[in-house]
Symmetry: C2
Subunit: 295 residues, 2 copies
């Protein structure tokens, strides 16, 4: 067998993403010789030990990161800074600290004050997920064929960046480097805004009076249910994402709202050409997705 | 074998819905002894004949409805009135005229002037569909386990209403009667608004500058693609739906926009409680859908 990428990989936070990464790392020795886990929740720690998806569950963050050559923070974006602050003093010189947060500027801004010059911080974001959460929801193939975006910090070494890219490639992901601000803007439109709209329409439906509200559920097959799958996602994670990418998200929402108002106006005044043009765009985008196999 | 529900069933408009109904009716003799089709498009007529999904394709609407005891209008909502006007004079006394339009008040309002006292008009709406359209897209099981809503006109006979309900039940649908205005309001939130939002977000994404636009496609797995499936639907059908249910749709869009603005405000000011409450609603609604097996 070839040498593993890391000797000891530590996963902090064993939700959907963390537990999927752990499962993949345990499949063969290509990623790490030893996989160690820590989660702030004792319930999750117990469950992870029961599931047997890591070599060892540590009782503290300090113990978990000791002698690890790579530590992956898989906690909600809002918990990144305290989690990082708690473990960084105990990491070994030369180790890599990376994360999986869905917003990158805020994570970098909040972790940077705690960094040590002898560690390598490589911010990353595997774009993968399901509507389920928790250590039971993970599976080893979650990242296959999906993108992982890496947003290297200024002045960082290229080698740790290459190692983090290799980690996700071993998970089956395609990787790409980009600027953190660019990442946040792209994700605001492809992910954060769709989730905001999905949560919102569920709320709008939920506010309807009795009978109409029941009908929303019964007749959901006609379009509504497509919006509810992503609306089932984890509340803490999404609260943090919205709050930590607020500028880009609010800008995309403002653009969307203008466009929705333009559509409303076209409907009110019977502007058929405008309406058909908008619908045609939707079809074109769907076709493009099918062509590049992301549909 | 038992007696078929109808002697001759005529389907006008062989798109996704019409061709699915025809296919189902041809499967056994329970719905009709003879299935006749007519479509305004010669290309569709030729294709339907090739597909062999009806007993006979008529060259004119007049010929198609002759001696039919049930005629089903499966054309876009905006084409209902001219289609009805063209065939009503040739329908046989006592026959049933029904439709599958997604908006009911407008269809009733527009067909009523052409009705004859010796015919029975029963407005209906099978809530089923896919993102595909045209005679090749149909399949006989499309209506199974789905609702068909029937919105009887005032002063109509109960017997033809029962027969139309039986027609859709034979297709595997569950049926319910309701008032046309109530129907239009319910569909505005469960179907028309989700489609409007889906078309709109595709447009918003399409307006982004070069690089960002490509990224929307590449990273679509993170939420965006869930919105694009329904955005691939037929433009003529949806243009007509939007224009023919404008009051209810604009009201639902206004409510939705208020809710989206409230969410934007909560994000801007960091109102965590409000954000989590909205997300929790989404999860609850998703769970309810799973419980009633409509997810």
């Amino acid at each position: 067998m070839t040498q593993p990428l890391f000797e000891r990989l530590t996963v902090i936070g064993l939700g959907l993403i963390g537990s999927s990464l752990a499962r993949r790392a345990m499949q063969d020795g290509s990623i790490a010789r030893e996989v160690v886990a820590y989660d702030a929740s004792p319930t999750v720690r117990t469950r992870v030990a029961e599931l047997g998806i890591v070599h060892r569950v540590a009782d503290t963050g300090q113990e978990a990161v000791q002698d690890a050559d790579c530590v992956v923070l898989c906690v909600p974006v809002g918990a990144m800074a305290p989690s990082a602050a708690a473990i960084i003093p105990y990491m070994r010189t030369g180790a890599i600290l990376t994360d999986v947060g869905s917003t990158k500027q805020s994570v970098i801004r909040e972790i940077q004050p705690f960094l040590r010059p002898d560690l390598h911080f490589v911010p990353a974001h595997p774009i993968a997920g399901t509507e389920y959460s928790g250590p039971d929801a993970g599976f080893s193939t979650l990242f296959e064929g999906r993108w992982t975006l890496i947003t290297p910090i200024e002045g960082g070494d290229p080698e740790p960046v290459a190692k983090v890219a290799a980690l996700w490639q071993l998970c089956g992901a395609m990787t790409r480097e980009m600027d953190a601000a660019h990442h946040d803007r792209a994700l605001a439109i492809v992910s954060h805004l769709p989730h905001l709209l999905a949560f919102t329409i569920c709320g709008t439906a939920d506010d309807l009076e009795g009978e109409s509200r029941n009908e929303v559920l019964q007749f959901a097959a006609s379009g509504f249910r497509d919006f509810t799958r992503i609306a089932a996602s984890d509340p803490t994670m999404w609260r943090d994402v919205f709050l930590n990418n607020r500028e880009a998200l609010l800008e995309m929402l403002a653009r969307f709202t203008e466009d929705a108002q333009a559509m409303a106006r076209a409907i009110r005044w019977g502007d058929e050409e405008f309406i058909v043009d908008r619908i045609e765009r939707g079809r074109r985008i769907r076709r493009s997705l099918i062509e590049i196999k992301q549909a």
